[in-house]
Structures are given as structure tokens and as C-alpha cells.
Subunit: 457 residues, 2 copies
């Protein structure tokens, strides 16, 4: 049978939850960064696991590719239907299915966003900590192994997904994991699907770990004259075992962006933004020890805010950093890099990157989740300016090479998508072939987000 038959069948099954409207195709063909417009042939909006399984079976029978769509906030063109076919939009599967406060876990549908989840949890005294800057879907976050500002304390999606329900390429529906906190029962399939970017199956349900809202929270910002002492502060804090809940680095250019976008009044210098969670006295003690380390490293302008509204303002500003940076060059498109290195190499990684960007013609503020050794440069290019895009790509390429040279990874949290596929072999060597073998045995016709992740793909 041919593709038109598949689309007809899907349309009959889904009614107005099957769409080929220009606005739907446009929305699902766009991405947050510099990748070209790549619309799917149709968009479907399933409401149940059974519908997802039926959709997959119809597509499998007709050889139609399927690409999952959470909120489309991924930064490497992950969710674009590179080989055509349909976009499976999970926005109508956005319910909290079951909260288990006594076990500190929750069962959700994949289209629910992290902010929606935390709103629903508010009354329970629990929260879900993983927080990429964007209000991403939990299915998308699991698929990219997302993290964010709190990973240094609470882990990434790898550590916070207990189990999944997944529809495989042949329509089988499997469940991975249990609600027990740990298990030694066989291969870690949960871990295999987390970070697989929809290339092995579609996630239709997630069981997530929750954490107790801390009794006390304290946050601070401090400035440094140079990058080195800021990073040394981070290293020393980690080594002393002071349990930071967040520790974020922003460089002078990002501080300037905050000033103009969010009305902040930060000196145009490198800064650390930090937060502690715990009992009132533990937080006070941690803040004091940290303050001492900052002082030893010549940091200043140290100001604590334990008022909730100040903290909210601080982290809202941080979460909007991407848009603040875009504001440095109105109309610009961003190429967002994402390198992660062992912490001992972080200062050198940031400084080399800073110098490399300074030599280029492109603005590129740097910021990152430095407690994990992870940082980004936001390279701002004029849309349609091929020379600038090439220059930005060359900078990004050198960042990737730097990450590998320093013993790190080409992506700390954003994932592979289209942008990093070319580095998989360099990072993984023959292990990349093993990924290809796993892909082929689970998706022999290469219909799940094809063109991505594996060799040949």
C-alpha cells in the first residue's frame, strides 16, 4: 500500500485530530534555532496509548516515518520530520495519571509539561526538579535526557525516570521499570529509552521520582573579575561536599543581556548564581561556607535573597537567559552549543571558548550549569547570512573538538538531533555501531524519527 492510503486511514481513525492544515504543518516544521523549515506530511494528536499503538501499526504497514513532538523546544532539530511522514504531537496526552505522595512518585502522560506538573504537585509538598529553561514536555525531556539548573543536586532525567510505557516500531506496547526505587531485574530498558530521542519507540507514559520541597531555600549572586576564580569557586565548593541545589555561571556578556532584558543591575563581569536547599540551619551553614570560598577567590557583590519573590525573579531571569541573549542582537537566530567536561578542565574550556568567540565577528554569551561541567555559548547570527552561520558553525565545531580533547562529551544535555549526528563516531568510536545494531533490531524499517542518532540511519 502507499502513503496516501496510510494518511486516509489515519484521518478516518482520528477525525479532527488528524491534520494537514498549513498552520499545523508550519508549526511542526519549525525549530528553536537555525535548522531549516522541515514540515511533516501530517500531524496526529493521539489521546491514548491504544491510539498511539494503532497509529504506529498503520504507519508500519505503509512504511510511513513517525517523529514524536513534545513541545518542540529541543535545540538540535530533534523533532523535525527529516524523512517526511507524520509528526505525533503529544499535547493532548497531558494528564497527571496518579500521584503517590507517600512513595514520592507520579505517573504522567508524555505531553504534560514540567511547569504543569509542578503546578499540580504544589499542594503535596513535593516537586519534580528537572528544569530545562524551556517549559518542555516530560516525554520530550525523557527523550533528550534533559537536565537543567538543578541536575547538580537532583540529577538529570536519567536519574529521575523510574519507568516508562513505550510503543515500539511494530506496535507492541511495553512497560519498563517498576515503582520500586531500584531493581536489578535485567537490562535497564528505562535507561535505554531515556535519551533515545524517539528513535526506538514513542513514550506514552512516565513514572517519575519526586522530591520534597525543601524546608528552607537560599539563593545568591556574586561577581568575579575573571572566569578562572569563578570556576575555582565551583570546584572548591564541590570538593568540600557543600550540597548545592543549583550553581550557574554567566559571563560578562550574559550579565549585560540580563541588564537590558530583565532590568537587572549586574556589573558586566562573570557571575555565579547559586541556591541551597535544606533545613534552615543547614542552608545558613552552607551559605556561610560558600561565602568564605567566594571571598577566598576574590568574588564580590555577594547578595543573598531568601525572600521567595527575589529568588523567583533570579531564576526567571536565568531561565529566560536564552531570550535575553537573543535580545543582544534583535532579529538574530541562535546556534546554541552544549559542551560538558570533567570539572577540572572547566576553566580552561570556558576560557578557550571565550577567547575563540572574541576572535570571531559573532556575539556569543556563555552560560552554563557549571556544577556538572556543562556550559553553552549562544552564538548570534543574522538570519540568512551564510558567512556568519558558517563562522558560528566553525566556532561550535571547535567547542565540540575541545570537549572531546578535554575528556568530555559533545552534548551535556541538549542531545544529538540533526546538529550533533556528525560527532557520534568521534565520541563513541565502535560503540556507535552498537547503537546502530540496537536501533536496527528494534526498528528494522527505520520509521521512528529516521535520519537521526545512528549510523546509516
Amino acid at each position: 500500500m502507499s502513503k496516501p492510503d496510510a494518511l486516509t486511514e489515519l484521518g478516518e481513525m482520528l477525525g479532527d485530530r488528524f491534520s494537514r492544515s498549513k498552520s499545523d504543518l508550519d508549526l511542526h516544521g519549525r525549530n528553536e534555532t537555525y535548522f531549516p523549515f522541515l514540515p511533516p506530511e501530517a500531524v496526529v494528536y493521539p489521546e491514548t496509548t491504544e491510539e498511539v499503538a494503532k497509529i504506529v501499526r498503520i504507519c508500519a504497514a505503509h512504511g510511513v516515518p513517525l517523529t514524536g513532538w513534545g513541545r518542540g523546544t529541543s535545540l538540535e532539530g530533534h523533532a523535525l520530520a527529516l524523512k517526511g511522514g507524520i509528526s505525533v504531537d503529544f499535547s493532548r496526552m497531558n494528564r497527571v495519571l496518579k500521584v503517590h505522595p507517600e512513595d514520592m512518585d507520579v505517573v504522567v502522560q508524555p505531553g504534560l509539561t514540567r511547569e504543569e506538573l509542578n503546578r499540580e504537585l504544589r499542594a503535596t509538598g513535593l516537586f519534580f526538579p528537572v528544569d530545562p529553561g524551556a517549559n518542555a514536555s516530560l516525554g520530550g525531556m525523557a527523550s533528550t535526557r534533559a537536565s537543567g539548573t538543578t541536575a547538580v543536586r537532583y540529577g538529570t532525567m536519567r536519574e529521575n525516570v523510574l519507568g516508562l510505557e513505550v510503543v515500539l516500531a511494530d506496535g507492541r506496547v511495553i512497560r519498563t521499570g517498576t515503582r520500586a526505587r531500584k531493581s536489578a531485574a535485567g537490562y535497564d530498558l528505562t535507561g535505554l529509552f531515556v535519551g533515545s530521542e524517539g528513535t526506538l519507540g514513542l513514550i506514552t507514559e512516565l513514572t517519575l521520582k519526586l522530591h520534597g520541597q525543601p524546608e528552607a531555600i537560599s539563593a545568591a549572586v556574586c561577581a568575579f573579575d575573571e572566569i578562572g576564580p569563578a570556576v575555582d569557586t565551583v570546584i572548591q565548593t564541590i570538593q568540600l561536599g557543600i550540597p548545592m541545589a543549583r550553581i550557574e555561571f554567566v559571563d560578562a556578556a550574559t550579565a549585560a543581556a540580563f541588564n537590558s532584558y530583565a532590568g537587572a543591575e549586574m556589573p558586566e563581569k562573570p557571575h555565579l548564581m547559586i541556591e541551597f536547599h535544606g533545613s534552615a540551619s543547614a542552608v545558613a551553614e552552607q551559605a556561610e561556607s560558600f561565602g568564605q570560598i567566594v571571598a577566598d577567590n576574590g568574588g564580590d557583590g555577594f547578595s543573598w535573597s531568601s525572600r521567595p519573590e527575589d529568588r523567583t525573579a533570579l531564576w526567571t531571569m536565568r531561565h529566560n537567559a536564552y531570550y535575553a541573549c537573543l535580545g543582544l542582537r534583535p532579529g538574530a537566530t541562535a546556534l546554541v552549543t552544549d559542551m560538558c567536561v570533567p570539572i577540572s578542565r572547566l576553566a580552561e574550556a570556558v576560557e578557550e571558548t571565550r577567547a575563540d568567540i572574541a576572535r570571531s565577528s559573532i556575539p556569543g554569551p556563555i552560560l552554563g550549569h557549571v556544577g556538572d561541567g556543562n556550559f553553552h555559548a549562544i552564538l548570534l547570527v543574522e538570519p540568512g547570512n551564510a558567512a556568519e552561520l558558517a563562522e558560528a558553525k566553525a566556532l561550535a565545531h571547535r567547542m565540540v573538538e575541545r570537549a572531546l580533547r578535554l575528556g568530555g562529551t559533545v552534548t551535556g544535555e541538549h542531545g544529538i538531533g540533526m546538529g550533533k549526528l556528525g560527532y557520534m563516531e568521534e565520541e563513541h568510536g565502535q560503540a556507535w555501531e552498537v547503537m546502530g545494531q540496537i536501533k536496527r533490531v528494534l526498528d528494522p524499517s527505520a520509521l521512528m524519527n529516521p535520519g537521526k542518532m545512528v549510523p546509516g540511519n
Copy 2:
């Protein structure tokens, strides 16, 4: 070519590191619990990754099965050469290759034991936290996804392995992971090999996370009249977010075993053994909050020990619990169970199990890592008494069914081996087939620890 040729080739290559001596075959045919004696046909003692790869290629060429051997302390017959072939003993690959104190990680060979590693780390102020009761090898611990008393704070092997070097069934040598703390670069192969029990490849190197030795440590023991209030104490402590480093439950029978084996003077009642790690004031505060919860739940005999020698005595006693329990019935063999449930179901799981054992004719002390919802019954049977073994297996079977009924897993930390293979389908449903697909694509001739883990196997 035939098997004898393979053995000749291996002998020529390895000299006296290839053995068919009775003592070597005997040692590698035995297990810690009730599984029958199953000797391999030969034992090899490689010293390098290249040798392991050569061994695997020779075996692959001749269709000879290979089963890894760390320290042989696994409890479900994991390391027995069920289908014959050779036992690959990693005891000569036991070096620390590189410590990176500033990054808090270490690169080791698989045959190194956890105690050897911690001895070598002592001067660095760092330690490796995962501690099964036995002095297991790190390769074995990764292969079974081991945990132990500290998982509630520091995680299991899943959370503490950053990367691996693995020799695959066809002799390819791959590396997974990097020394960066997190990565979103493709499928999590590290996680796939951790817990795979040597059925997908042989681990020849591990990069492990380390943790700072805590500034202060405080440990305590307290007694309860019933199991319920002991478990409620654990649940309330978790919910208040008091960061326990260890929280262990032992029942009245185990307390009695400690008294006779280790000369303890514990009332024959259920007990909790707990430890806090942190700054001096944080530990003091945590101890106080915990003491309040214990009192609220009617616990007593609460005694703190912050003197290192008292703590060492306490945890040595706990680590020797298995042998203490064996001592309750001299000459007995143990069937060690290992269930793990969501914490809200823990009291009911322990109480039902306690009652079920009480109705049987078999002694069965219960103890466990209750902060994770994980506990064991040590069922003591007379060697050669088939009726007792059958009764113990029936008890163990009901524990497994109970774990699944309560939303848990058939093994929290010991793994599948031979003993739990029959429950894989019940726990995983169709996901078990997926494990079989992965196994077949990576080891199509089923030579890596054959007869285990997957369907058909």
C-alpha cells in the same frame, strides 16, 4: 573446529594463566548459596583487555561459551558456567589505573574489589560508596547492578558508573561514557551493560564516581516492639527529607543472630541501624530530628556512636549478617531472597513475609536496606534435605509474587542469575522479549554467560 582446539589455543596463549586443575574448576563451579556444583571446562586469568579480546575471539571461532568471574559472591548462581565453556576470572586485572581527585572519579580494572579500592583511596579524602555485604569485585558489582547499605544516599552501581570498556561477543572492544558528569550523546550503553550480568560482553575497565569522605558521621541503633513502627520511622524520615546515609532494618531473629555471632547485646526485637553523613552541625541536627521520629513511633534503646571504632563495629556486624544468620543453624545452606517494593508497601511486605516464614518449618531472619524498600529473608535449609529446599523455594516464590503484587521488583539488587530467570516474563511482560532481541543482536551465537537473563537464551 572443535572445543579441544579452542582450549589448546587458549593454553598456548596464556601458559599457566590457563587452568584445568581440579582446584580451579572446583572453585569456579561453586556458589554462595543453594545452586548445584557446576564447574567450567577451564579457567583463564587474563591480564589485559587485549588478552580478553583474544580469548573472546578464540571462543567465538570455536563456539565456546564464556562466563565472567569476579569474586563469585553473587547469590543467584550468576557466575556458574551453566552451558560449560570457560570461566574468565578477572582477579589478575585488579589495578587502580588512574585517580582523578579533582574530578572525583577513578578508573579501575574489573577484578579490583571495593575494599581494595577504598584502601587505595584513603589518602585522597574520597571514597567509593557502593557496598554489598561481600568484598565483591567492581566488575561483578557493575554486572549485577549491585547496591548495599548506602544506596539510599549515594545510589547503586547504576548511578556510580560513569563509563565502561567492554569486550563484545565478537571481540570488538568498545568504550561507553566519558569522564563528564552527564551526557545526552545517544543511547545509554553504560546503563545497558550495568546489570547485564556478563550476557552482553565482558567489562574490562570501569570509570567510577567517587564521593568526599564526610566531615562528620554519626550512627545509631534503636529497637521497636513491632515491625510496623520501625518501617513507619523510615517512611517519615524520608518524607521529611532528612538525608540518611544508611538505614538498615533487622528483625528479631537477625538481632538474635548478632548476639550469638558478634557478641552484641541487642534485645530480640526489630531494630533500625542508621547513619548520617555531613558537617558536624548538620549531622547533629539530623540525628536530633531522627531521634524525635523514633520516639514518636515508640522506639527505644536509642544509642548513638560517633566514635569511629563503634561505628566500624556496627557496620562490620551488619556486613557479616549473612554469616551471623548462617550461624543460627550450623551447617545450613541459605536461600537468600531479595524483594523491593514502593516504600508505602514495605511494612505490609515485611509483615506478610514474617508471618509466612513463621508458619513454615524453616528459620528465616529478615533484614534489609529499607530506605530503598528492599529487604531479604535468609532461609536456612539443611543441605541435601529436598523437602526443606522445596519449602524454602515456595516461601521465596511467594515473596516474589508479593513483590510484584505490591508494585515492586523480583530483585532489588542481587540480580537474576539462575534463580530469578523464571520471573522475568512476569515482571517485564513483552519488555522481556526486547531484552532477548538486544541479546541476540549483540551475541547471536549465545556465548556470553549463556542460559541466563533472556528468553530462549
